[in-house]
């Protein structure tokens, strides 16, 4: 087939010090196609796209755009060549209107008025051509994330992009919003645009792409026509071995409640109610999953139960100990002492001190434990022995407890946190986003550990924005929307039904 190529990469090579991030990359992207790039974290996807978008300069190799060899020294150069990028974290000024955001950096002269007029007409045309309807005068910060993402796409198109790079675009979207995004991408393709979709979610690759390239350890290990491959094959190519996409577990055999939450209300720093009258139980030997789009109160729920965030009202009972969360001074160390362990959502911000040696993080939160020293002093040998035992048991790599925590990969960092919390034998484990930024191999391991903990008769409360993960792990699913638990479902419930609950389309009382 003599199709025309939008992008051609020949032998792209990039090193960061000792790390070989991109090795001799060859990639051909056909004009008017949706091309997926999958790979684990650290496989080199982002580096490759950053080279294409002019953030990094390749050490070697050639880039051809529309058949012409080019050098892309900056993102301005990329834009001039018709390459646009939609970042994972939106680059929008929240208190600007949509129109102002779109023209930001492309105002077209010193006088704003003329530029705005032209931009308005152009936006109207784009909206009609690509089914990208957004009110140009809406304040960007007030729009739902799905629409904010559309603004990002409009920004790229407004600058004349023919090739759109989307970096993990569905991380913040509900399933219906993601479906809508895919519809938009198909329209863009049909209108002749080329889309490069970077993701680690195989389902999305299967759903929307025409062709897919798999990256592993800096190399493109395979390129397939999407219709002629399967999720199983892609997963195997990504990891380099067979992986279980399903979590193997037997039906739960729940016992007595180990965690009871009654009437929990939480306000955030600005006084906005973020958790509204939430009550539920987690019994021994079960995993309760909380599904919901990020930002609907799940994070605050976990932090309030763990004693980190003050609650306005609410009683929790942990393994028989009643704690009034609204009491004046709630101490996470106290809650922990009742048998509650907590794997926080954000390991960099909260779960780890990345500047510390690995062994120092192995006792974070347990540093007052008599096992780790006498009186005021720490027993470093005892701490290192604990750390080494956990490294061995959880296969943390590299197996060096003196290594700085920041130098471990995301998956191994998560294992450090998980090992620390699980190995203290808690009655209740709170887990937030256990596999965010974690590669497939480690995901499998982490899921097995959580199921093993359940089977050992512990209570696990799981919060995740990955609906697949909640459905695979949980024995019961609670859906949170706007601070409330809006429904309880079995994990087998159809994704569309859960999606509607998550989007707030259906409201019902829990239990």
């Amino acid at each position: 087939m003599s199709e025309r190529l939008a992008i051609e990469l020949e032998g792209i090579d990039k090193r960061f010090g000792a790390v070989h991030a991109n090795k001799d990359i060859h990639l051909k992207v056909a004009k008017g196609s949706i091309h997926g790039i999958v790979g684990e974290n650290g496989a080199g996807k982002s580096t490759l796209m950053s080279i294409l978008y002019g953030f990094y300069h390749a050490d070697g190799g050639e880039i051809r755009v529309d058949g012409k060899t080019v050098t892309i020294a900056s993102s301005q150069a990329a834009i001039a060549l018709g390459i646009g990028m939609v970042h994972q974290h939106f680059m929008l000024v929240e208190n600007f209107t949509v129109l102002e955001n779109v023209i930001l950096g492309a105002e077209g002269g010193a006088r704003l008025g003329a530029g705005i007029g032209r931009a308005r007409a152009e936006l109207k045309r784009l909206a009609a051509d690509y089914d990208l309807k957004v009110d140009p005068d809406a304040v960007t910060g007030d729009l739902p994330v799905g629409l904010q993402q559309r603004v990002e796409i409009l920004k790229a198109l407004f600058r004349g992009a023919d090739v759109l790079i989307l970096d993990e675009p569905t991380g913040v979207l509900t399933p219906p919003e993601a479906d809508h995004l895919f519809r938009i991408l198909r329209v863009l393709r049909d209108e002749g645009k080329t889309v490069l979709l970077i993701t680690h979610k195989l389902r999305e690759i299967m759903a929307v792409t025409d062709e897919v390239s798999v990256m592993r350890r800096g190399e493109i290990v395979a390129t397939r026509e999407t219709s002629k491959t399967s999720m199983g094959e892609l997963a195997e190519l990504m990891v380099g071995r067979r992986v279980l996409l399903e979590v193997e577990k037997t039906p739960a055999q729940p016992g007595a409640p180990l965690l009871t939450v009654e009437g929990l209300n939480v306000r955030d720093g600005r006084g906005v109610e973020v958790v509204k009258d939430v009550s539920f139980q987690v019994r021994a030997g079960e995993i309760v999953g909380i599904a919901g789009v990020s930002g609907n109160g799940q994070s605050e729920l976990l932090e309030a139960i763990a004693g980190i965030r003050p609650a306005r009202s609410g009683i929790v009972t942990i393994d028989g100990t009643r704690v009034d969360l609204a009491a004046a001074r709630r101490d996470p160390a106290e809650i922990r002492s009742y048998g509650l362990a907590h794997v926080p959502e954000d390991r960099h911000r909260m779960g780890l001190v990345t500047r510390f040696h690995e062994y120092e993080n192995a006792i974070l939160g347990y540093h007052r434990d008599p096992a780790y020293g006498r009186g005021a002093f720490l027993d470093l040998d005892a701490i290192r022995d604990t750390a080494r035992a956990e490294i061995e048991k959880y296969d943390i790599r590299p197996p060096d407890c003196f290594l700085k925590t920041a130098n471990f990969s995301g998956g191994n960092q998560q294992k450090i946190v998980l090992a620390r919390e699980i190995e203290r034998d808690p009655a209740v484990l709170l887990v937030g986003q256990p596999t965010r930024g974690v590669d497939i191999g480690a995901i499998e391991f982490i899921h097995k550990r959580l199921v093993a903990l359940r089977d050992a008769g512990k209570a696990v409360l799981l919060v995740s924005v990955e609906l697949d993960e909640v459905r695979a792990l949980a024995d019961r699913v609670l859906v949170m929307f706007d601070g409330r638990v809006v429904g309880e479902r079995a994990p087998e419930t159809a994704e569309s039904e859960l999606g509607l609950l998550m989007a707030g389309a259906v409201q019902e009382a829990a239990e």
Binding site: G373, F377, L380, S409
Partner: protein
């Protein structure tokens, strides 16, 4: 993942050495500009500080001050607190030393007075840090602002006390009476056999300063409290997650920091001046910031940095004496350049150095 890093020895030894070398290079240009030979200047400076016994004695005496004020800043740094009130805390610490000495010097030998004077210095220094600490911990008033204001309050308070309350009767001097032998620390050369520092006031405080270094090292790296301080300093959210109270750590750390700063007064008041007088701190508290930065907040690094600054003080005085063209102000310029390169521009050469190590280590990893 090792990109952007360099070996620890480079971070702790090479970087400060390069910074000092750069400071000396620029100083050399300044010396050259006023028509003197920079190599002669360096020779005189180093000889003045280390070439003769009395010079060494003075260098150690100044270094003692810098160790205390440097440690004070370093301990606070570990908790991400910027205590720039060492000046005022040391000043008020002098009050603690003087009260102990004035009360006891006529009745007991120095070794009875000493522990009380040290405790008094630490307690008064800590007390002066306490109010900024509470304001920071409970009200969020930034310690940089409050400690610097407390330096001024300390200065006014001490002038008031020395003029109106503590001055020797019938004297116009704003200073207390001179302590008797029970309020004087022995000089180092009277303790160490075969050493003679001449008229230099290097005294037992130098040993106390080294003990303070040991104390700080154990505190920061070997105790649960030190672990909490470092956790709080590195990641406050993680500290809260771990059950570490930000209020408690902020206050406790500032108290320890203030106490260490206050102990500087033992060296000046009980070791050298033998009376409390105005403005005896004369900038040592501020230079402590540069000492802590240069010593990478590590007690051992602080000892070396303190000796370097002691050398600049003592050798600088010699230089001003030997080379009349180089005035006292020129010495201050040189000291300022060291502070500039070691403190403010601390990281200037870092990216270049990291790149260099990257180039050097790349062939090694390729071969592996």
């Amino acid at each position: 993942m090792m990109a952007g890093q360099m070996p620890r020895w480079a971070d702790y030894i090479l970087m400060p050495a390069i910074n000092v070398a750069a400071a000396f290079f620029v100083s050399g240009l300044v010396v050259l500009a006023i028509g003197e030979n920079p190599f002669d200047a360096v020779r005189i400076l180093v000889w003045g500080a280390f070439g003769w016994n009395e010079g060494i004695g003075f260098t150690l005496f100044y270094a003692t001050n810098f160790i205390f004020t440097g440690l004070a800043v370093a301990v606070a740094f570990h908790a991400s607190l910027f205590n720039i009130g060492g000046e005022g805390q040391a000043y008020v610490g002098g009050l603690g030393v003087a009260l102990a000495c004035l009360a006891l010097d006529r009745f007991v030998p120095w070794w009875v007075t000493m522990p009380l004077a040290v405790a008094g210095a630490a307690a008064f220094g800590a007390a002066w840090a306490y109010i900024p600490a509470v304001l920071q911990a409970k009200r969020g008033s930034h310690v940089v602002i409050t400690t610097i204001m407390f330096n001024f309050i300390a200065a006014s308070l001490m002038v008031y006390l020395l003029v109106n309350v503590m001055a020797k009767e019938g004297s116009m001097q704003p200073e207390t009476r001179t302590f008797e032998d029970g309020g004087r620390l022995p000089l180092l050369d009277t303790i160490l056999p075969g050493v003679d520092f001449g008229s230099a006031p290097a005294n037992l405080s130098f040993v106390i300063a080294l003990l303070a270094c040991l104390f700080t090292w154990v505190l920061i790296w070997r105790t649960r409290l030190g672990y909490e301080i470092r956790t709080f300093g590195a990641n406050q959210t993680a500290a809260v997650y771990a059950g570490i109270s930000p209020v408690r750590i902020t206050i406790v750390t500032m108290l320890i920091s203030g106490g260490l700063a206050g102990m500087m007064a033992v060296n000046e008041i009980m070791g050298s001046q033998h009376r409390l007088l105005i403005e005896f701190v004369s900038g040592y508290g501020f230079v402590g910031i540069a000492v802590a930065l240069m010593g990478r907040s590590h007690p051992l690094g602080i000892v070396f940095a303190a000796i370097l600054f002691g050398m600049l003080y003592q050798g600088g005085a010699e230089l001003a004496f030997e080379m009349p063209a180089i005035t006292r102000d020129m010495i201050v310029v040189i000291q300022a350049l060291v502070i500039l390169f070691a403190g403010a521009l601390e990281h200037m050469f870092r990216p270049t150095l990291i790149k260099l190590f990257g180039i050097l280590s790349a062939p090694a990893s390729r071969a592996a």
